[in-house]
Amino acid sequence: MNEELAASWNPGRGLAAWLGEVRHTVIGIRFVVTAFAFFIAGGIEAAMMRLQLAHADSHLIGPDLYNRLFTTHGSTMMFLFAVPVMQGVGTYLVPLMLGARNLAFPRLSAYSYFTYLIGCLLLYAGFFLRAAPDAGWFAYTPLSGPAFAPGKRVDVWAQMITFTELSAMATAVNLVVTIFKHRAPGMTITRMPLFVWAFLVTSFMIIFAMPAVMIASSCLALDRLVGTQFFNHAEGGDHLLWQHLFWFFAHPEVYIIFLPALGMISAILPPFTRRKVIGYDLVVLATVTTGFVAFGVWVHHMFATGLPQLGESYFTASSLIITIPTGVQIFCWLATLWGAPIRFAPPLLFVLGFFVTFIVGGLTGVMLASVPIDLQVHDSMFVVAHLHYVLIGGSVFPLIGAIYYWFPKATGRLLSERLGKWSFWLLLVGFNVTFFPLHVLGLHGMPRRVYTYLPESGWSPLNGLATAGAAVIAASLIVTLVNIVASLRRGAVAGDDPWAADSLEWLTPSPPPPYNFAAIPVATSRAPLWESGGRLDFVSGLATNHREVLVTTLLEGAPDHRVPSAGPSIWPFLASLVTGVAFIVSMFRPWGLPLAIVLGIPVMFGWFWPRRLAARAPAVASREVAT
């Protein structure tokens, strides 16, 4: 029976099978690996900038290259690393945690990956052709407009945005439907793992936030290509409009990167404290609240533009309020840790690193929410410090913890704990040495995005210290990289459940078979692996001779019906290529879009052409779905 299942879910061999792969485990790993590759690229750019800034009046890097470096660094970390890596982790883990065999729309996830990959390649092709964007990851008009940014640099940026956000939206829709309709029977919405809640809220945020920036980047591309005047004040356009559209996306973006990391923490704490997270309801409510309030704070990036004081006070208040739900989650985790029999393995160490570093970023965030303080520190090195404390402290620490935690599930091998501890301590020290001094530099007047500074400024010692810290961060990441490569070959075999954890992904072998679960488990509690007494019920009756998945009801998770799940297909890859043609040609010629429509119609026909179910042997008698 399992052989028949494996045969049904096996994509086959060869290039076509590789390109046609639609299993979420494969797509998820592709996302994570690609995102980390670009994390390394973005890190190299950061290291080059830190070398240039190590002392005053350095002539290592000129202004033009420096401006391309910081723009590419910011764009890479936000659009090619942070969001895709989180979505990749979600793509890999959410179906496993739900006891599902695949995502709701397998082909859409393949399309999402290839579209993202083309966006990545576009930005770096631009970088190596000296056409990397140089107007900042925020691309404020008019500096990014046709008058002040001739050439194709900003077009590369604008279309890269459209690619990656399209990809993010596709994955978000996929995750929402999977979470709502493909949970294991018995997993009511209030029994869902907190990790899944975090991804549910994040996905909704992506669906609402990304259109703003896609519209903005498309309008900018139109201004540059066909002379629309959306952002030309002389023709009735408005530069503040760009800022509003951009930050309406870009502030929720921070939480889109941050909430999944909080979900990781909620997943990592139980096995290392031997207890469930205290305050499940509070953590869920806090996550949902954050998702809403995150859309009401964007103007705190624009305090220096001079809004009326009443408006500014409103956004100060909302930016302060958003601290409360995050605070509630932190308190819940402290309550969980309190007096627990803790095992200090690398995943937990990185979570503790989150507490030590992220809270600094959260508190400087409170300072930035205050208009008068923001007027001084806005666009200074202080903000550089703040945002790295939030993004590295808040997201990268838990993310690396998550790598140490789920690597055994994905590969079947454990990472070395000794190297993990080395990596953790190096990162903790290196990170703080690099970024804490930037707070002081900002308060002493050092602006952001400067390629050099005067020797008389007295900023050299702290900048030199920061550069030294960056070397320690690099060492930490190299240790983890070595750990990953070495453990893939020689790591200890993990077994199904090396951490004695509580959620469903640990029920299946490591790495999971192509069909995830030989039989779909029935979840009867929030920690099904802990509270079942080792005996879970299973669903029988799903077809094994073709890809079939179970659909359950939205709130109760009651079995509803069975549907075939899409098999391997080359069409998503071709659709991504057409998308690529559309966006890349339209950087140069307006007929890019009509061309894409002409090419896209046959591809859509191919994708959606009704086919006979690819059933293998005569179907095994399908029985009633039983719980």
Binding site: L143, H239, L337, A340, V366, S380, T452
Partner: protein, 315 residues
């Protein structure tokens, strides 16, 4: 001199003082909160092990923590609104001096209004203000978005094309305060500095009166070399971008040079204004500030020396 006080925590005027005060309040409150949370974390992971968990009691503690957080935030919000109130427009400002600050890629044009058009003063990268008197700055951008930031006097204010704005500053003591463009504005965003020079009122009036004088006519120039320098200046490429009041050089692409020798810096606050720097700046500004609009002007040594002699008369 190119450098001067530029710390937000060493204020020299009433607005910056209010901002610095609030900043310290926040720093202290945030430091206390951080310590409390870290101590809680240390006790949580290092304290006594307890297997029995009274979840309801712990939840009450969590909610109490959220309540305390909310109270602290309300207090910080009140402090914020109280500080913000009266920053712009400046509360109780009278006898206000008005000046105009124009952001350009990559320098600051500073204008003081005059009773007649020829009484208007235009200078660059140097804002002179009288001590103790509020100054209303009209902020205008000619190209992209810039942000005017002199940390010792006030926070930032953006210069957005199409959205002219104003900001009040005031210096309480004489001194030189350095500012810098704080919104990324292109290739030379890094070298777009400005000096604010706060002087006693009499000194300021004398400076302003001097700025209103046109340059000396050719006949009054002392020395043959300076006179030849003026000829070189007027017949070369310089008047295509620069103004020297009293001559036919009247272009406004680059900084007004009528009193260039009296200024402290070259290249928007990034090079001390001494003969040797000026010489290098004229010969090849791109070597020092790549991307700036000033083209390289290779001249024979004798011509360059004459030109410098002329420019040094423009005091």
């Amino acid at each position: 001199m190119t450098w001067a006080a530029s710390s937000a925590l060493a204020p020299a005027g009433p607005q910056a003082a209010r901002l610095a005060h609030l900043t310290w309040v926040f720093i202290v409150v945030c430091a206390i909160v951080y310590l409390v949370v870290l101590v809680a974390l240390a006790i949580a992971i290092g304290g006594r092990r307890s297997t029995a968990v009274d979840e309801r009691r712990r939840l009450r503690v969590v909610l109490a923590g959220a309540g305390v957080t909310a109270l602290v935030l309300v207090a910080l919000l009140i402090a914020t609104v109280a500080t913000g109130h009266g920053l712009n427009p400046m509360r109780g400002a009278h006898d206000v001096l008005t000046a105009r600050v124009i952001g350009r890629q990559w320098w600051w044009e500073i204008q003081y209004p005059g009773a007649a058009p020829d009484q208007q003063v235009s200078t660059a990268n140097e804002l002179h203000i009288p001590v103790g008197r509020p100054v209303l700055l009209e902020l205008v951008s000619r190209d992209v978005i810039h942000s005017f930031w002199v940390p010792a006097l006030h926070g930032k204010r953006d210069l957005i094309p199409g959205h002219d704005s104003t900001v009040y500053i005031q210096a309480d003591r004489p001194g030189v305060f350095r500012g810098q463009c704080a919104e990324f504005c292109g290739a030379q965003h890094a070298k777009m500095g400005v000096l604010v020079i706060a002087e006693e009122p009499a000194q300021f009036e004398a400076w302003l009166a001097n700025q209103r004088r046109p340059a000396a006519p050719a006949a009054e120039l002392a020395g043959v070399e300076a006179r030849r320098g003026q000829e070189l200046f007027l017949n070369g490429t310089c008047p295509m971008c620069h103004t020297v009041a009293g001559t036919r050089a009247a272009a406004t692409q680059g900084p007004d040079l009528t009193h260039v020798a009296a200024r402290a810096t070259l290249g928007a606050g990034s090079l001390a204004n001494v003969r040797e720097h000026l010489e290098r700046w004229i010969a090849d500004a791109q070597a020092f500030k790549p991307g700036s609009e000033m083209p390289p002007t290779p001249l024979p040594a004798a011509d360059l020396s004459a030109l410098l002699a002329y420019l040094e008369t423009l005091r």
